[in-house]
């Protein structure tokens, strides 16, 4: 099967404009005749629902939270990129495109990435008009900072709460459309299956999390904006409820899952303190602008950090990468932290972290200056660890943070199932094998505000005059029955272990074998161990209580069941990709200096996996990546 990315012809800079002219339009008077289901109400979902409502479509939006404002987009701290060049420092749409393609280690689609950079400019305007309180200079104009090692200052931010403020902007805009009667909002509704008829998406089946009621919802198109799958690692910076279920259910109905092995590890998180740790907290990597990263040279070091003399400290990033030092990209910083911790040089009671030290910055700039820059992060750190970073260095360690892989989509954001779209982190499209800092918020809003609302018309236009498939249709009845049966299965296994137990054990396997560094042996082991644990799950799961009330264990069981299947596919994808690129590091494929070594001859493609059936592993389809505008280079941060 040939995957058609539907990338338009023409020069890179003109593709999007040409495409907007070429896609079919739906007459304003006809838009109300189309119903679009939007699943997930984070940045991508809320902005899509709001914009589709404004355009005149009938929209139904679904979230499993009690309010759309809880979506995990809210936790992004650092900022959002926009190629505004307000700082006059040489930024441009092309530079943002180039940085994103290069940062993604040349595993992204040129045309998608260029479009992302183009609309980044409009996003900033749109969000300012929404009343997002971006940081400003004394003259009243917007402030910017350089982020994640970028050579220009193009990141807009709202204190350390940029994700929160952008999400509230999109949420409020959507609530305006709820008020106007154009968006119908369903809260506490979890999508548990996608319904297809004749190979086309026609609706979804949901469980009401408060009453357990299983209901069908039908529309002309379904949009999944359900986030990433980082929670497969159990300990991650994701919220507790983040999951892959909606995307995975779609995958099982025929949507290809692309590049599942591309996961991003964030270098500056707070290390786990004990075995009960339920999640990891990320601290903005802006901390690396002023903090120096080091470990003691002696694995048996017993002295407190402040008492260790300079000569006994190993500033490993500064020593290995004199040019970039502590500001090397996320994957390089993360892998080096793992290396020193694996060597037994880790710090803290569990020896599972490295120091991030502000002493030099405090001496240079004064405590007041440093505190002004990082007070919110330092307070958060102190609250969680009980240690004051002004007196003793922070301890940090990498944690899974974002997943670049996701549902395969074409240039229109349509998956391999007609009329099913995927937006934001749920799709695979724009970041290649690694995402730049401050680009997640940008992509979610780009998809929801400026891409999907145009491209969705192309498939809807052909359906004028047709009604959505009735929920009485046998395809809906069958899907509902499948969901009921599955729920009943979870309730009746009556084993001895909680869903959390299985999730935690699965997480350990995924972290150890499909984490920062992967190799053939480990990945093969991962596949067999994941399968064994999965079998145990289906035999020994214990879900108590009832299915007709709020039941977190039951919800969790369904999500963990899907994580098992995803984890296996991640391992198989990582095994198949015999090269290192971006967030995917195969230890067999590295330069002499220990850097990720790509294999462009064999792997300059997207791996899109097609579901077969329960007993037959997925089949890989390759979408070749064609680079017409950038030259593929080996990254070097020496």
């Amino acid at each position: 099967m040939v995957l058609d990315s539907k990338v338009p012809e023409g020069p890179l800079a003109d593709k999007w404009d040409n495409h907007k002219f070429d896609v079919k339009l739906v007459n304003p008077a006809n838009k109300r005749k189309f119903k679009v289901l939007v699943v997930g109400t984070g940045l991508a979902g809320a902005s899509a629902a709001a914009t589709l409502g404004e355009l005149g479509y009938e929209v139904e939006a679904f979230t499993f939270h009690d309010s759309p404002r809880r979506a995990h987009s809210i936790a992004a701290q650092g900022g959002i990129n926009g190629a505004k060049n307000y700082r006059n420092d040489g930024d441009s749409v092309y530079r943002l495109f180039y940085d994103t393609i290069k940062g993604g280690d040349y595993r992204g689609r040129e045309a998608n990435t260029y479009r992302l950079a183009q609309v980044s400019v409009d996003i900033i305007d749109q969000m300012a008009a929404q009343g997002v309180p971006f940081a400003r200079e004394y003259g009243g104009l917007l402030a910017n900072r350089s982020f994640g090692g970028a050579q220009v200052s193009r990141t807009f931010y709202a204190r350390g709460q940029t994700g929160q403020q952008l999400l509230l902007g999109a949420y409020q805009q959507m609530m305006g459309q709820v008020n106007a009667g154009k968006v119908k909002l369903h809260t506490r509704m979890e999508m548990l299956d996608l319904v297809t008829k004749d190979g086309e998406a026609v609706g979804i089946v949901c469980r009401n999390l408060l009453t357990g009621e299983i209901t069908s919802h039908s529309g002309h198109a379904v949009v999944l904006a359900t986030g990433g799958y980082g929670n497969v690692y159990y300990l991650s910076t994701n919220a507790m409820a983040c999951n892959v279920t909606a995307a995975w259910r779609a995958h099982r109905k025929g949507a290809h899952f692309a590049n599942p092995c591309y996961t991003q590890i964030h270098p500056t998180c707070i290390p786990a303190a004990d075995e009960f740790q339920s999640k990891l907290t990320l601290m903005s990597e802006s901390l690396r602008n002023d903090g120096r990263i080091w470990v003691p040279r002696d694995p048996d070091e017993r002295r407190a950090a402040a008492d260790i003399p300079e000569a006994d400290r190993y500033y490993y990033l500064e020593e290995k990468y004199p040019a970039f030092g502590n500001l090397v990209p996320r994957d390089v910083a993360s892998r080096n932290a793992k290396t020193v911790v694996d060597q037994g040089l880790g710090v803290g009671p569990l020896k599972n972290g490295v120091y991030l030290d502000f002493a030099a910055a405090i001496e240079r700039d004064g405590l007041d200056k440093v505190w002004e820059r990082y007070s919110n992060l330092m307070e958060m750190y102190e609250r969680i660890t009980g240690e004051d970073p002004r007196e003793t260095p922070m301890r940090i360690y990498p944690a899974i943070h974002y997943t670049m892989g996701g549902l395969w989509v074409d240039y229109n954001l349509m998956t391999s199932i007609p009329s099913l779209y995927a937006c934001g982190e749920a799709n695979f499209s724009d970041h290649g094998a690694n995402r730049l800092g401050a680009s997640a918020l940008m992509q979610g809003l780009a998809d929801g505000y400026f891409v999907l609302p145009y491209t969705i018309g192309d498939s809807l236009a052909g359906k004028l005059g047709t009604d959505p498939v009735s929920t009485d249709d046998p395809v809906f009845q069958q899907a509902e029955q499948d969901v009921r049966d599955r729920t009943q299965t979870f309730m009746s296994i009556n084993g001895t272990r909680s869903p959390d137990y299985f999730h935690r054990e699965l997480g350990k396997l995924v972290w150890n074998y499909i984490g920062m560094e992967r190799d053939k042996n480990g990945l093969e082991k991962a596949i067999s161990e994941i399968r064994a644990l999965r079998e145990e799950f289906w035999k020994d799961l214990r879900v108590l209580g009832n299915a007709d009330t709020l039941n977190s264990s039951l919800e969790k069981a369904g999500r963990v069941a899907d994580f098992f299947e995803l984890a296996e596919l991640m391992a198989r994808d990582a095994l198949d990709r015999e090269e290192s690129c971006g967030g995917h590091f195969r230890s067999e494929s590295q330069t002499e200096g220990g850097e990720a070594l790509r294999n462009d001859d064999d792997f300059a493609h997207v791996s899109a996996w097609a579901w077969n059936d329960e007993n037959t592993p997925q089949t890989k389809h390759a979408e070749e990546l064609i680079f017409e505008n950038v030259e593929l280079t080996q990254r070097s941060y020496k």
């Binding site: 809880r70 505004k84 305007d125 008009a129 009343g131 009243g140 929160q164 609530m175 958060m380």
Partner: protein, 258 residues
Amino acid sequence: MSANTLNLTLQIWRQEGPNAAGRFETHEARNIPDDASFLEMLDVVNEGLIQEGKVPIEFPHDCREGICGTCGVMINGRAHGQERGTATCQLHMRKFSDGDTIAIEPWRAAAFPVVKDLVVDRSPLDAVIEAGGFITAPTGTAADANETPIPKEAADSAMDAAACIGCGACVAACPNSAGQLFTSAKLWHLNSLPQGQPERFKRTEAMVETMEQFFGSCTNHGECSEACPKEISLDFIAYMNRDYIKSKRVNRKLAGQR
């Protein structure tokens, strides 16, 4: 950083559903590391309950980093517990002592009926936002973001208000279950910005009157701000009251009445 553990007695509110009668249950929490968060302590208790074949306690939580606003319980009678400016998920067990008895209840407010155990329904907060908590700026209509300069102080003040996480602690802490702090924070965020001016008084009237349908009246106790994990200022309530009075006059004028 320490490796101490705590043994605690928990008095936890259990309630099967919205219409069931609730009761306190006593549970022991044993060997809780003091680096654990309050919610991780509840995780441990729930694991134990599942092992014993008892239905685990439902409690609200999600991001566990103090920003999503999902979590929130009354801890010893105080919303989010005794620590100032701290959401329940960021409260850590090192703030408690070995042998403590801790009472844990859901938010208590008529507007927030109990769903199950410690989980309540906070949808009235969304209803207040829906009534007018937005700026009408359809996608694609925006001018360049730097076309409207906003003095830094004004933007900072709007951000102070916008920091609200919508957890509902203000309502739970208020003796009248009033929704003023939540509503006024959103109003000040939008009403203080140039972009928010055209709809300022329409928004104020609609949001305040929607709030009144669900919540009690404010009598300036200040418990809301005291309990707020983001320490939202009581000043915003004064600004809201001023704008509300003005809205009655302005909105009549806009409608052509004198």
